[in-house]
Chain length 324, copies 2
C-alpha cells in the first residue's frame, strides 16, 4: 500500500471522490446497491483516483469537474477486482469475504460489467473524445492481460518477457490511463501528458511486481488474502519465474515438483516461499521494482517543478517501502 | 428469427459489417481470435447491426462510416450472450457448444468484457459524444436487467410488471440503442430519432417475448438450445407468469410443484409446456407480442415515407411470424 501520509495533501479531494462513489448508486436498482456499498466499505488504496487528481493539477484544475472522472477510474478497477475474484475463485480480499463468496459468481459477473459500463457512462458525460478512447483501451488491455495470464496458467512456462507484457496490460494500463485521463481533461500540455503517461506506466509496473513479491513474503493476515494466491491459480509471477530461470537445478526441480501437483498444501506454499527467498528471487524482483521506480522518478523530472511533482516522486519512492 | 428475405435489401451492407467483424481482431492477441471467430461463424441474426444500418438511412448515409458502428452493436450483443451462457451454465447455443463449454467460464468472463470494451473503443473513434452515452447506458441497462432477473430466480414470484421491466432493460435497451445510434451518427432529425427509439423499444420487447414463447413451444433442434432453458435457471417468463396469475388453481398447483424442485426432468419440462399451451398462455403472450408489433408499426408511421420505413414495418410484421 502506498503510504497514507503521501496522500495527506490530497485528502480533501479524495474525500470528495469517496463521497461521489458512495452517492452514485443512490437512485439505482437496489439489487446492486448493498453489494456495491459493501465493496466501497471494504476499502482499497484508491491509487487510481489519486493519480487522476494529481495529474489534473498540471492543467486548469477544477476539482468538482475532476471528481467524477477520478471516481470512474476507481469503478473500472473495482470491476476488474470483482471479475478477478470470480476467475480466481477467491473467497477473501482485504480480509473480508469477496462479493463472489457472498453473492455468487453470476451476480459478480453482472456487477463487474455493470460497474464498467457505469464508469464509461460517467466518462461519456465529459464530452471529451480522448477520455472515451483512454478508458476503452485500458479496458481492452486489462482483459487481454488477464486472458494472457489465464492462457498460460498451469503451464509454468511464462517467461520474463511474457510476464512483463501481461502485467503491463493487466495493471499498468489502468494506472497509466488514470494519469493520462486527469491530465487530458484538465487541458495539460502534450509534453506533460507524455511525462505522466510514462510515470503512470512505470508506477503501475513497480506496483504490480511489489504485489507479486508480497504474495510470497507476507503473512495472510497482513495482505488480507492467502499467501501464494497466484500459484494456487497456476500463475507464476516474477519471483517463481526467476527461480525457474536462474535458480539452482535443485531449487527448480523442487518447485516444479510442487507446481505440477496443481493444488498445494499450506506447507508446500511455505516451502515455495522459502525457496524463493533463498534463491534471491525476492531481492532480484525488488531490484526490478527499483528500476521502474527510478524510471518513474525520471519521468517526473520532466514535469514542472511544482509541489505535485514532489508528491508524485514521493509516491514512487514509497513503493519499495510498501509494507502491505 | 427475423425472416431473411426482409434483409435482402440491406444484404450488401450487412456483408460489409460481417467483413468488418471478421477482420477486426486480425492483429490482436491470438488467445481471443480463435474463440471470437468461432462465435462469428456460429451465426446469429445480426438484427442489431441491421437496425443501425437502416436507421442511418434517415440521415446523411455514408455506409463505410456506419459499418464499424453497426459492428460495435453486434459486439455488445455477443458480449452479453457470452456472459449469459456463463450465468446460465449453458452448454449449447445455436446448436453448437458455447464458448464457456469449450474454453471455460473464466475465459468467457474476460472475453465478454473484452468485446464490450472493444465495442466502446470502436465507438469512441466516432468522436460523437451521444454515441458513447447511448452505448454505455445500454450496457448499464442490460446488466441491471440481467441482475433483476437473477435476483428473482427461483422465487417464482416475478409479476407481469417486473417481467416487462426486466426484458426492457436486458433486451429492448440494446435494440433501441442500435436504432438510435444509427440515426444519431448519420445526423437524422430529432423527431426521426425519437420515432426510431420508440420503434426499437417496441421491436425489442416483441422480440424478447417471442423468444420466451419459443422457449416452450419449439423443439430443441429448431431453437438450438434446450427447451425450457429459462425455467432450468429458475427464471419464469411471460407464459409461466401468465399461468401462475390467470391459470386454473390445478394448473398453478401443478406448475409450482414442478418448479419448486428446482431441477426438472425432460418429461416435467414437457408437462409445463403442455400446461402453458392448455391455459392459453401462448396465445396470451402472442397477443402481447402483437401489441408491441402494432406500436412499432405506429412509431414507424411517424417516419418519412421512404422504402426504409416499409422495410422497418415488414420487419415488425415478421416477428409474430417467426419460426425459430
Amino acid at each position: 500500500m502506498l503510504k497514507r501520509q503521501v496522500f495527506n495533501e490530497i485528502d480533501d479531494d479524495m474525500k470528495k471522490v469517496e463521497e461521489y462513489l458512495f452517492n452514485m448508486l443512490h437512485n439505482s436498482y437496489e439489487g446492486f446497491e448493498s453489494s456495491y456499498r459493501y465493496l466501497l466499505k471494504s476499502g482499497g488504496k484508491r491509487i487510481r483516483p489519486a493519480f487522476t487528481l494529481l495529474a489534473a493539477r498540471y492543467g486548469k484544475e477544477d476539482i468538482d469537474r475532476i471528481v467524477p472522472l477520478a471516481a470512474a477510474l476507481e469503478l473500472v478497477h473495482m470491476a476488474s477486482l470483482i471479475h478477478d475474484d470470480v476467475v480466481d475463485a477467491s473467497d477473501m480480499r482485504r480480509g473480508r469475504p469477496t462479493i463472489r463468496k457472498l453473492c455468487g459468481n453470476d451476480f459478480s459477473l453482472h456487477l463487474g460489467a455493470y460497474l464498467f459500463a457505469r464508469a464509461l457512462s460517467v466518462i461519456a458525460e465529459y464530452q471529451d473524445e480522448q477520455l472515451n478512447t483512454i478508458l476503452s483501451l485500458a479496458g481492452i488491455k486489462m482483459c487481454s492481460g488477464e486472458i494472457g495470464q489465464l492462457s498460460e496458467a498451469y503451464s509454468f512456462k511464462t517467461g520474463l518477457h511474457q510476464y512483463f507484457y501481461n502485467i503491463k496490460r493487466k495493471t499498468a494500463s489502468l494506472v497509466t490511463g488514470s494519469c493520462q485521463a486527469g491530465a487530458v481533461v484538465s487541458g495539460a500540455k502534450p509534453q506533460i501528458i507524455q511525462a505522466l503517461i510514462k510515470y503512470g506506466h512505470n508506477i503501475g509496473m513497480a506496483y504490480q511486481i511489489t504485489d507479486d513479491v508480497l504474495d510470497f513474503s507476507k503473512d495472510e493476515k497482513i495482505i488480507g488474502k492467502p499467501v501464494g494466491n497466484d500459484l494456487q491459480q497456476g500463475i507464476t509471477t516474477l519471483p517463481v519465474i526467476y527461480v525457474l530461470k536462474y535458480g539452482s537445478e535443485a531449487a527448480q526441480k523442487e518447485i516444479l515438483e510442487i507446481l505440477e501437483k496443481k493444488t498445494f498444501e499450506t506447507h508446500e506454499v511455505k516451502r515455495i516461499s522459502e525457496i524463493v527467498a533463498d534463491t534471491g528471487a525476492i531481492a532480484f524482483s525488488m531490484s526490478i521494482v527499483n528500476k521502474y521506480v527510478e524510471r518513474a522518478i525520471k519521468a517526473a523530472e520532466n514535469l514542472p517543478d511544482i509541489r505535485t511533482t514532489q508528491i508524485l516522486k514521493e509516491i514512487a519512492r514509497s513503493i519499495n517501502g510498501r509494507e502491505y
